[in-house]
């Protein structure tokens, strides 16, 4: 570059000094950071209630409950809740996972009290009105009928079932037709009473407000929440390792494209080899145009519009998977190409240049991922959830650069065995 085009000094990334953290006496962790560049705020967080608590017979209960929280509270109807939100251009929603039920929202900063008030009511005093529950049930059943026709969803569902056989991660969070039909309002009330509570709850607010004021606003709405009988999460059983490659094809007539998922268990977010796996995965199926997998499946062979790999790391065992959508007649060819790439990956790992490229990408992209308020909310929540430390972004560059070719190879060999893959496909 002939002349310096940029004229801003490098701003500080997220650091411990500008993230405000306070734990309320009832156990709620509040995190806040200011950003006065726009008159808006983003809010996000989670409570410690997820599908882990539901029985096989009531699969989808946590999802049903989280979808119902804003359908009516002790003081507001469904329509009144959304009227308040939508009238000021705010939004809010809940979404259940295996371990937690997440929530998120955004508004103009002047409407933060309104947002927090609705959050507090939805969490503490949902009433699960009968007619609203039945409307939701019909919507969820239609969602399941659409899922049954979706090649990507069906391949992913069978993948989880085979990979996590007997483990809670094997189950679909949105349940099955018969389980959704069997869930009663009493089930929902009980689930809410036992599992929704302040212990384990985390909330982060980022936007045009002083952090301390944001935390005080949370305190006003949620400090009084007490749930003495809040049940702790059950211990997670160990997952059974896959002994040899397993394959499953889900037949769906009338489809033009097949979806495939090939994969295995991946590391947890807090595992020491997480960065090695993540950088290795970048080379395998992310960097540039979807890494090596994209190169052989899409660019060289023209077999797919998308073909990439991903690492999904959370509290428990993660997945390391390759996804692609291909013409049904090319399914076997695509699987063979992907298996070859996996063999190559564990035989010789990554080159010096490939690793350096991905390391540069990880470091360079940081400002982009922290650009919006919601991006910062998600970064702060991750730091809290996985105990990464608020100085995570100060250490980030050195952690990325510390990963060596040997680390990547060792990690790849630990997780990837081409003879013990889970291969799930769906299509004609």
């Amino acid at each position: 570059m002939p002349k310096k085009l940029s004229n801003t000094a490098k701003p500080s990334l997220l650091n411990p000094d500008d993230i405000y953290r306070v734990v309320l006496p009832n156990g709620i962790t509040v995190l806040a950071r200011s950003n006065f560049n726009s008159p808006s705020i983003s809010m996000g967080g989670y409570v410690a209630a997820g599908s882990l608590f539901e029985s096989d017979l009531k699969l989808g209960l946590a999802d049903f409950v989280s979808s119902s929280l804003m359908r009516g509270t002790q003081t507001r109807t469904f329509d009144a809740i959304y009227n308040e939100l939508e009238s000021v251009g705010a939004s809010m929603g809940f979404d259940s996972g295996v371990h937690t039920t997440g929530f998120g929202g955004r508004s103009l900063v002047e409407d933060l009290p309104l947002l927090l008030n609705l959050l507090s009511q939805s969490l503490q005093t949902p009433t699960f009105p009968k007619d609203e529950v039945e409307k939701l049930r019909a919507q969820m059943l239609t969602g399941l009928a659409m899922r049954a026709q979706d090649t990507s969803d069906m391949a992913a569902m069978a993948f989880d079932r085979m990979l996590f056989d007997g483990h809670p991660y094997s189950r679909p969070a949105d349940g099955f037709v018969e389980t959704i039909q069997s869930i009663t309002r009493k089930d929902m009330e009980k689930f809410h009473r036992l599992h929704f509570g302040p212990r384990g709850m985390v909330i982060a607010i980022v936007g045009a407000i002083e952090p301390k004021k944001a935390a005080e606003a949370v305190e006003r709405c949620l400090a009084g929440w007490q749930v003495p009988g809040q049940v702790d999460a059950p211990t997670m059983p160990a997952h059974k390792p896959v002994k040899k490659t397993v394959k499953h094809h889900h037949a769906l007539a009338g489809k033009s494209q097949s979806d495939l998922v090939i994969g295995m268990i991946g590391p947890r977010r807090r595992d020491p080899e997480f960065f090695s796996a993540s950088l290795g995965n970048s080379v395998l199926g992310q960097f540039g145009m979807m890494g090596r997998i994209g190169e052989v499946v899409r660019e060289k062979s023209g077999l797919a519009y998308y073909a990439s790999s991903s690492l999904n790391a959370g509290s428990g065992p993660g997945t390391w998977e390759i996804n692609a959508g291909v013409n049904p007649k090319n399914l076997k060819k695509a699987i063979d190409l992907i298996e070859n790439e996996l063999r190559r990956f564990i035989k010789s790992g990554v080159t010096k240049g490939e690793l350096a490229d991905s390391q540069a990408n990880y470091i360079g992209r940081l400002p982009l991922s922290l650009e919006s308020n919601s991006g910062v909310v998600s970064a702060i929540l991750n730091m809290e959830r996985y105990d990464l430390g608020f100085d995570f972004y100060q250490r980030y560059e050195s952690m990325v650069r510390a990963v060596t070719r040997d680390n990547v190879l060792e990690t790849a060999r630990k997780y990837i065995d081409p003879n013990r893959l889970v291969i799930s496909t769906a299509g004609p």
Binding site: S6, S38, G89, T142, A148, G254, S256, V326
Partner: protein, 420 residues
Amino acid sequence: MASEITQFTLKNGMRVMLKEIHTAPIISSWLWYRVGSRDEPSGKTGISHWTEHMQFKGTKKFPANVLDKAISREGGRWNASTSHDSTRYYETMPADKIDLALRLEADRMEHSIYKEKDVASERTVIISEREGHENEPMFRLTEAVQQTAFHVHPYHHEIIGDMADLHTITRDDLYEHYRRYYLPNNAVLAMAGDFDTKSMLKRIKELFESIPKGPTPPRLIRPEPDQKGEVRLSVEGPGETTFIQVAYRFPNATHADYFPLQVFDSLLGGASGLSTKTSRLYRALVDKEFAVDVSAGSEATIDPFLYRITITKHPDRKTEEALAALDRELQNLQEILVSSDEIKRAVKQARAVFAYGSENITNQAFWMGYVEMFSSYDWFTNYLSSLAKVTPQDVQRVARKYFQSKDRVIGIYHPKGVEG
């Protein structure tokens, strides 16, 4: 979000729009070409989108593979997309790396290589992309409705193109399309972010001004004649769920009725970018259990396009019951004046959505170029005040003018073997 921008036209006719934003060390650069699926005659449908794919196959200076890695290595994000009216390429980069994106875009404006073998592999990639779309009932329905709504205007076909053309378009067709439309005098470069306008403009001139201009390509203009009565169609496919799409004629983005219709849309279908559970359609169709979902919306286009209402029918209801509920809501807006409070609410919603958009530099650069494709930047900066000027009478007038049964196309996706 409406802060000042610098607009400039280079000697070769290329438009440049620059907006300094110093909130983060990021610059987003968008290069827009005035060509989209509406410029494609029969036999060449999908060629604009395919050309967009070919633009990633490299130049002599930036061979494929080198090009994408170079951007990724710097931590950049880049992509491209094709719409009815335009094709756009963007890079969002750490501010001190943006020069790479500018050099790349200047180079591929005139030096892209279209190799036969790349055309061959991209053909199957795009066919695969279309096959992926065809897996979705909603794509099949939307395509059928659009084809029925436009017999003459090239908005008739989907952006990805008809399968027949994806099999027959040649390398020379693609290269000719590229050379014809990818000219500086047919392009707009919009940049937002952490730069100094004067130095940036100087650099843009160094890189782009020497690219020779060419004959400005005319847009394909084939106005759609008036519709002569309601048209109904059905699409069959696998599944258990019935989808209904109702499409009305909708004016172009610079039409005087556009803003009254935006308010109308906010009231009927809900504000864009927000949840829509208090919209009239949600209350009338989903709350009343004629549908399990409903959505509605339009696009800002150069020529009149469509306002589409999409209904996922409730399994226990008949299609005609859902349509009757929709008609009752439209009739209400045609017969009963809305309150000025409802209009104020729509303006506040839009103000919030604008604020969210201003958190993001990529989004701000996008809008600068986007509005330039069908109007000018004033359209964007005046958006909220244009909305605020809309009166209840305006809303009623456009409801009556544009939402007549005789001007609509109704498409129904019938899942095989299920009555609806």
